[in-house]
């Protein structure tokens, strides 16, 4: 996989973010350079306070960098005013949150429809797409349930469906497994991995959980607002349909390696 051929979906150029807390200045990001290519599954790791969430907010146009450039799908978003940014967030980015952030008074289906609300799509088409997405995340038959009647794992899957609603160029997930138990954690990470393999969705997750991060394709370790280290994850091997532990052939949807029985 050559870098030159790969198309960059997301690229930052010396991104700096400084928070002013009283008289003290906190440098959350410092001249950070990063590139995410189309179809990549990337994890950003780091201890707390290393700037993970800040980076994700800047990448997701939720926050503006103090200095530097963020180019998303060919557009320099760091220069756009707020009245343009919401369109970028709506059309190019899908957000997944640690605490799911579903609207409690809307059904699963309505939550998924929400990002399409301000688009020009007709109502019935939105409804149909929401149902398809819920089926994709394995929640068909639960479309009309309110979030409080869904388990934590199911809620996060609704949130993933919501993030996919407007076919974004990139999905950004902030600790997507942080509030889930082990079983649901793997369920969600596998779902994201499958979306990446089967649909080619570009995904960036932030996690401090190395087990979760190891299932991605590329891991970036953040320290003091800079990328300190980069290593390959299991997902890269999985993409080649080969078990990373024993090297035998696997299917994309396999939960465990058929020969060595290790969890993929």
């Amino acid at each position: 996989m050559s870098e030159a051929v790969s198309e960059a979906v997301l690229k930052t150029d010396k991104v700096t973010k400084v928070y002013t807390m009283g008289k003290r200045e906190v440098r959350a990001l410092s001249d950070l350079n990063l590139q995410v290519n189309k179809g990549e599954f990337v994890a950003i790791m780091g201890p707390s306070g290393s700037g993970k969430t800040t980076l994700l907010n800047v990448l997701g146009c939720l926050d503006k960098p103090t200095a530097g450039k963020v180019v998303l799908d060919g557009v320099d978003v760091s220069k756009l005013p707020e009245r343009e940014l919401y369109k970028i967030r709506r059309n190019k980015i899908g957000f997944i949150f640690q605490t799911f952030n579903l609207l409690p008074y809307l059904s699963a289906c309505e939550n998924v429809e929400l990002p399409m609300e301000t688009t020009k799509r007709p109502k019935n088409e939105r409804r149909q797409r929401a149902r398809e997405l819920l089926k994709l995340v394995g929640l068909s038959g639960r479309e009309d349930h309110r979030p409080q009647r869904l388990s934590a794992g199911e809620q996060q899957r609704v949130a993933i469906a919501r993030a996919m609603a407007n076919d974004p160029a990139i999905i950004l997930a902030d600790e997507p497994t942080g509030n889930l138990d082990t079983e649901n954690k793997y369920e969600v990470i596998r779902l994201l991995a499958n979306l990446n393999i089967n649909r080619g969705t570009t995904i960036v997750i932030v996690s401090h959980d190395s087990q979760v991060a190891s299932h991605t394709e590329r891991m970036l370790l953040l320290r003091d607002g800079k990328i300190a280290k980069e290593k390959q994850g299991l997902h890269l091997v999985k993409k080649k349909l080969m078990c990373p532990y024993c090297g035998s052939k696997i299917q994309p949807n396999d939960e465990r390696c058929p020969s060595c029985k290790k969890r993929l």
């Binding site: 939720l62 009245r83 609300e117």
Partner: protein
Amino acid sequence: MLVIVALSFSLAIMISIPAGVVANQESTQNLTQRFNSTITETEQQINQSTTLIECSTSSGSMFSRPPSDMSGPPSGMFNRSGFSFTREEFYMNESVVTTISSIAGVKDVVPFLVESSSETTQETITTPRGDFIMSRPLYTITGVCLNSSFIDEYSVLPTDITAGRNLREGDSGVLLMSLNLSKYYGVGVGDEVEVNGTSFAVVGIYDQAGQNPVETRGVYMNLTDAQTTTGEAGNVSRLDVYAEDVSVVDSINTQIQTMYSSEINAREITVSTYADRLANLQSQETSYTELLNNAESTVAQTQSVANQEIIVALAATSLIVLFVMLYTVRERTKEIGTLKAIGFSGWSVMSQFMLEGVILSLAAGVVGIGIGTVAAPILSGVLLPAINPFGSRSTGFQTSGFASAVSLGSSSASAVVTPTIMLFALGAAVLLGAVGSLYPAWRASRTRPAEAMRYE
């Protein structure tokens, strides 16, 4: 929910105030209308009888404490805080008829005997200055000289006969009864009734025209019958003196005044010409107009108090909406952040919160109208100064039947919530909802998503 309750109360107050104001205005208008129509009617009556000189015996009123051994209330007694008016009746001898008839220029002299029954009823009359218990004669006997030329030429008898026939010349031992009385006693044409121990046959029922008690609860009979049954043989209480022409009215009047100067000075007899009656009406009109002006200025004052109160209520309502929506925005910071993160524009977040504020206050408006409709009479009573058109003067009893007809039962204005006020209140609710949620919604729209996400 609590919000809706608080809001709806303030809206209820808001609609009660105009309801009260409208009611006050209407009651003043009614009063003016009744006053004007009474004036017009009286004026017409006066204008129809330019040649008439009225000589009536008056009832000299005396102030006295009621006698302790009083067996029954005397006729025509007003009772209030232990004091009473007793009437002393005066009569003229029938010979006066001949005397006055001989004056040059007099065409006819029509004698009447008007006598109150000894039976009385107790009536409670509500006036602005308190409740009066008034004992009134149950009915009034009018003895009429049943001369066919008098009946034809002058209106000596009631004209609106609803059953039976009117009295005519030569009638004796019969009477004409008012509809009110016939209902009260349950008697009709052909029945025998007893008046002071004498039996009379009812020949006809008439419909009482005006508000005058003499007419509403009256019986008419032959003058001689009336004199006998009341024990006033040879006495009359009123003479209608008709001049041959308007030009001689003044000279006749002067002669009567001279002849009976002592009685007139003692106020036992009152003589009034067309001019006198018109002047009297005009003086009553003046004093009544003054009262109505007072009432109108009181209404105007009420209006300004009401305006102030409405402004306070409006401010309170929009402050409630403001704080509630600020709280809501705070509570839902995370939700706002999420909405913005998944692609909602500031404008759509703002309009959503505005809409919420409007719906909230619209719901409160509907509940408030419900409460207001029920509670308006009470609330407007509490919130508005009471309207008392007869402010410092108690007029109900001062003047004749005319005045009491206008004043009695006049000023109890009760607030009613009209559809106009309801629409106004709903409009105000929507407007206040929009105004009150404007700032909170704007704040919501300006929330930076990254900060909103951190908010727990």
